[in-house]
């Protein structure tokens, strides 16, 4: 089997398992809605200031809800020693990692695409003004969250305090990516196009994605096999 097929088999397996049980995605969606509800009490949901900071709120929702999916990614393999079987399987650690990352990516995007219109309705934000650019930012920012989250999921799967350690590790290292995604989302929701001034955030997001994907693919074997 070539590398690409191995990746797809792992991704399909994870997605199939998730779609049959729906344990992570249901939890994540419900959690996203709860956070969106809570933000309404923290800020005046109809005020103009809320619209200005809404891009930031959105990414906090995505990052929080995302950890629920990412936490399950490797932990799901613990019962029946499935993780050992996966590691013993004749595929590279990189293929296993990438497959899991792609499955997580699809699930995260699904949660985000449901949260977006809900957010638009609740907070009276017209988020479709710059739809293609917003989707691009969503894809890039979510990949950053996915690749680091899947990596920390692999790191924390066997350790004590797994649920605590994953966000503790993921959020600080995500700061540049989240910041770029928040800035861009805020401006795009406000109707500002991608211009010469904010395009550097886009470049930074792309660079962040490329660097961490490469480093993760190199180092994941060390983490899984030791």
């Amino acid at each position: 089997m070539d590398f690409f097929r191995q990746v797809m088999v792992i991704a399909a397996k994870d997605l199939r398992a998730e779609l049959r049980t729906k344990e992570a995605i249901n939890g994540s969606l419900a959690f996203a809605l709860v956070i969106l509800l809570l933000f309404a009490f923290a800020f005046d949901p109809t005020g103009d200031t809320t619209r200005e900071i809404s891009g930031g709120l959105l990414w906090i929702v995505f990052a929080f809800a995302g950890t629920l999916i990412l936490n399950r990614s490797f932990a799901r393999e613990l019962p029946n020693d499935c993780l050992d079987a996966l590691i013993a399987a004749p595929i590279s650690g990189a293929a296993l990692f990438l497959g899991k990352a792609i499955a997580n990516y699809c699930l995260l995007l699904a949660v985000e695409l449901v949260s977006l219109p809900v957010f638009g309705i609740f907070y009276n934000v017209r988020w479709t003004q710059r739809f293609p650019e917003l989707m691009l930012v969503l894809l890039l920012g979510t990949w950053a969250l996915t690749v680091l989250g899947t990596m920390t999921s692999a790191l924390t799967v066997n350790i004590r305090l797994r649920e605590v350690m994953l966000p503790l590790l993921t959020y600080p290292i995500l700061v540049p990516a989240l910041m770029g995604a928040m800035r861009l989302t805020m401006e795009l929701i406000a109707g500002t196009p991608i211009n010469s001034e904010n395009v550097m955030w886009l470049k930074m997001l792309i660079g962040f994605d490329v660097i961490y994907t490469a480093v993760s693919l190199v180092l994941v074997e060390t983490i899984l096999v030791g």
Partner: protein
């Protein structure tokens, strides 16, 4: 204790004594320097604020090298060095944040500003604190060292990205007074360099002490395992 460590002890004590002498002298000299024209006495905090920052950066770089070496060689000495230097670097970065905060309270009128350098320093601090938390959460020694080394590499890559991205975000921190058109008198620069030396030496002494503790701990653990096995 084996007899090899005897000389090591003497060198360590000597180095520690040298650090104390330089530090006492530096504090004496700094206290007697004239007050800076615009900022007054508080300006002198720079003699500690900047050296501890540079020391912390060196510590992060050493931690990276030690982590990479551990992953290549699987020699636990590098793991001990990595954890020791990370802990010491974290303490120095904390000193940097605290001295900066005190300065900010007097000059800016507030303890904290979400400025580029402050924010990136805080993010670095949290990243390396997470490194130590990760170590505590992993029980098995080889796994602990491997995971920690990987995380150290991840954190180190993040630091420049954090610094650049936050710099685009906003900057309020004063520009360096040494490079790029600063006006630092030569005799002040000498004091600064002396204190820089003191901070680096202090970090080295602390790191060596921590490395020895780590090595002793590992020896103890292996002895305990042997005792259990018997």
């Amino acid at each position: 204790m084996n007899e090899k460590s005897g000389w090591g002890d003497y060198i360590l004590y000597l180095l520690g004594a040298v650090v104390i002498i330089i530090l006492v002298r530096d504090i004496y000299v700094i206290a007697r320097l004239p007050q800076e024209a615009q900022q007054g006495a508080i300006f002198k905090i720079i003699f500690f604020h900047v050296p501890v920052a540079i020391t912390a950066m060196i510590a992060a770089a050493v931690a990276l090298v030690a982590s990479v070496l551990f992953l290549i060689t699987r020699n636990f000495r590098y793991d001990a060095l990595a954890v020791a230097v990370t802990e010491v670097g974290l303490a120095f970065l904390a000193a940097n944040l605290i001295t900066g905060s005190i300065w900010g309270r007097i000059i800016w009128g507030q303890w904290w500003a979400w400025d580029a350098r402050l924010t990136s320093a805080l993010v670095c601090w949290i990243l390396y604190a997470a490194y130590l938390m990760l170590r505590r959460a992993v029980e098995e020694p080889t796994q602990r060292a491997t995971f920690a080394a990987v995380w150290s590499i991840f954190s180190f890559i993040d630091v420049p990205i954090v610094i650049f991205s936050i710099k685009w975000w906003r900057t309020q921190h004063p520009q360096p007074v040494f490079w790029g058109g600063g006006s630092f008198p030569p005799d002040w620069k000498a004091v600064f360099l002396w204190n820089m030396l003191a901070m680096v030496l202090l970090a080295i002494v602390m790191t060596v002490v921590r490395v020895r503790q780590e090595n002793a701990q590992r020896e103890l653990d292996s002895l305990r395992r042997t005792a259990h096995a018997m």
